[in-house]
């Protein structure tokens, strides 16, 4: 197609945002109002659990009881409702704010607490900072701090599932800031050109630490980039749990049927700080926070359930539910902090599948050093062999 017009327009129309329920829970997309009520109630409950757990563990960091924490406040739907729509066997490659998926899949409060407390009950042996969760049983690849590295890995996994002819997809989560990294380009382009069974999920929560999204890119968000790769693209209201659920369910079907990837950009808002090392009031306005507080995923789904009389929870039991989760979290955290730290020998394990000579030698060196200088190190909190 040729043209004789010399127009320097960039794309003029913004990609619209898919939504099923409004802020007060009213349905505007009847066609997609068919999610079963048991699932919706469970999504509601798990979002509440996520919020309560986050509030307690955030306080625990402020009190110096755990070293670090990251909340998912305001973004509960983009993880809980996603996990609800996936199959449990779909392999999730997280960024670091997707513990809602773990809650849905059954990661216990104790398991969260052990990892945050870096104790001997943490299967990852306290090797990483808090919130760097993993569970092979729940199909959740290990969180790692470097941004976006998981995206092309999810492409490789999705490609493998295709070759193995599995009804299984790989799911890559990342924020809108992470989409600026080179690995985003790698992952998206490989997936699109090779036909990987991979679902790309962008949580556009308007902030990459302190960088607001209008400084992150000048184009139409991240969804426009996805279109550039020739990939099936949807923009979705990330605070509308039903829209999230429906979008992911449909995208998953598309991926497995067509053996091609798909991309969803969730429009949401990071209610909390980036992490406990951040102080977001320094770079955002009180008004902005207040206005987005009107658009809360838990409230919206709650109002919908109430309107439809699907809700198994009334105001009273909602209070009780929240209290239950708070107390569970407090109890789990207390007990996790009292556990011993992983044994010293765990420092040297799992570097390789088998111990190498240099590591055996270093293990011995450290043991001898600690024996000799016993009094200088406080080791009573470490599990003894």
């Amino acid at each position: 197609i040729y043209t004789s017009k010399l127009n320097f327009d960039s794309v003029s129309e913004k990609i619209p945002t898919f939504r099923v329920i409004e802020l007060k829970g009213k349905v505007i997309a009847k066609k997609y109002d068919n999610t079963d009520t048991a699932t919706l109630n469970k999504i509601y409950e798990k979002m509440v659990q996520l919020e309560e757990m986050d509030m307690i563990l955030l306080q625990a960091q402020r009190q110096g009881r755990i070293s670090f924490y990251m909340t998912a406040l305001g973004e509960q739907a983009c993880t809980v409702a996603v996990a609800a729509a996936l199959n449990d066997i779909d392999l999730i490659y997280p960024q670091y704010r997707e513990h809602g998926c773990l809650i849905w899949r059954g990661f216990t409060i104790d398991e969260f607490a052990h990892q945050c407390a870096s104790n001997s009950r943490d299967p990852a042996k306290g090797r990483q900072m808090p919130v760097h969760y993993t569970s092979s049983k729940l199909n959740f690849v290990c969180v790692s701090s470097p941004l976006t590295t998981q995206v092309p890995q999810a492409s490789g996994a999705g490609y493998t599932f295709k070759l193995q002819e599995l009804d299984r997809i790989a799911v890559a989560f990342f924020g809108e800031g992470a989409s600026s990294e080179g690995d985003f380009h790698s992952g998206m382009n490989f997936a699109a050109t090779l036909g990987c069974q991979t679902l790309f999920l962008c949580r556009n929560n308007k902030y990459a630490i302190s960088t607001p999204s209008d400084e992150q890119f000048k184009g139409d968000g991240v969804a426009s980039k996805s279109q550039g790769y020739g990939m099936l693209t949807i923009r979705c209201d990330g605070n509308d749990a039903i829209a999230v659920y429906q979008a992911v369910k449909n995208a998953r079907e598309y991926i497995v049927k067509n053996k091609k990837p798909a991309f969803i950009e969730f429009m949401t808002y990071r209610q909390g700080d980036h992490s406990t090392s951040d102080h977001s009031i320094l770079y955002r306005e009180e008004e902005e926070l207040k206005s987005w507080a009107q658009n809360n995923p838990i409230t919206r789904l709650g109002l919908y359930l109430k309107k439809k009389k699907y809700r198994e929870i009334d105001e009273e039991s909602d209070k009780e539910l929240r209290k239950k989760y708070r107390q569970e979290t407090i109890k789990a955290l207390k007990s996790a902090i009292e556990e011993k730290k992983p044994g010293i020998h765990e420092l040297f394990n799992d570097v390789y599948d088998r111990q190498t000579d240099n590591l055996e030698e270093q293990t011995k060196q450290l043991r001898e050093h600690l024996d000799k200088y016993q009094g200088k190190y406080n080791l009573k909190n470490f599990e003894q062999l």
Partner: protein
Amino acid sequence: VCQIGRYFFFFQAEDGIRDFCLSRGLGDVYKRQEQGIAAFGIGIASVGATAIAEIQFADYIYPAFDQLVNEAAKYRYRSGNQFSVGGLTVRAPYGAVGHGGHYHSQSPEAFFSHAPGLKVVIPRDCIQAKGLLLASIRDKNPVIFLEPKALYRNAEDEVPTEDYELALHKAEVVQEGKDITLIGYGTQIRVLKEAAKEAEQDGIKCEIIDLQTIYPYDIETLVESVKKTGRCIVSHEAPVTMGVGAEISAALQEKCFLYLEAPITRVCGYDTPFPLAHELVYLPDKWKVYDAIQKLSLIHI
């Protein structure tokens, strides 16, 4: 299995690989993006499959550095062994080729030998290439396999057609001798052999050891040899400062100090980018190695 990369155009080293893969329903993926190649391979390996990722020249491996060092190397450790990428092998042609200049001659083994969780393997010739590559692919840890590109069109041997592996983490004594130990790997073994031949004429018997696995390496074989000879040269094309030779010299002098008759000496590339016109004098060639053998042999405590 998935072979990722595009290669044959330059070296025709694997004319049959594409057909091999396709005929067996294996994946064969061509991409021109190193960070993507490594990450894609990591993804494949993370779900238990085998990925052989090829970087066209080791000089271009750096975009993959983050994925290899921050992800592949730490996959098992950070997850408490719940996830790992043992099925990943990254192959890349490395080293001087006569006219490669800055970006077709590099030896990056030292960078990756400093990332716990990775392994680095370098074969010296055809028979070792097959045995070590099979061992690397089957090893349950991510391996960087650097292939001496100078030998692609230049090496011939009777390679057994059956399946065989050579052990990783084992150095090989390629030639025995009582007077001085020469340690190297890859293409440099040929250089050491030639230097040893010159030294033989002066009555000096050199012992030559091929490291084979650069990291983690077989210090025991090196120690046994140096305790016997009391003199040692470590030699590689990569720049001398902070190279593999520096590590080996440090480790050997720690373990063999009282057995040494002379300082451990490194004969390596200079601390410059790999030059084009000056390649002839940049390389740690047989005369430089021979000269070091001479000097060390003259020292008597």
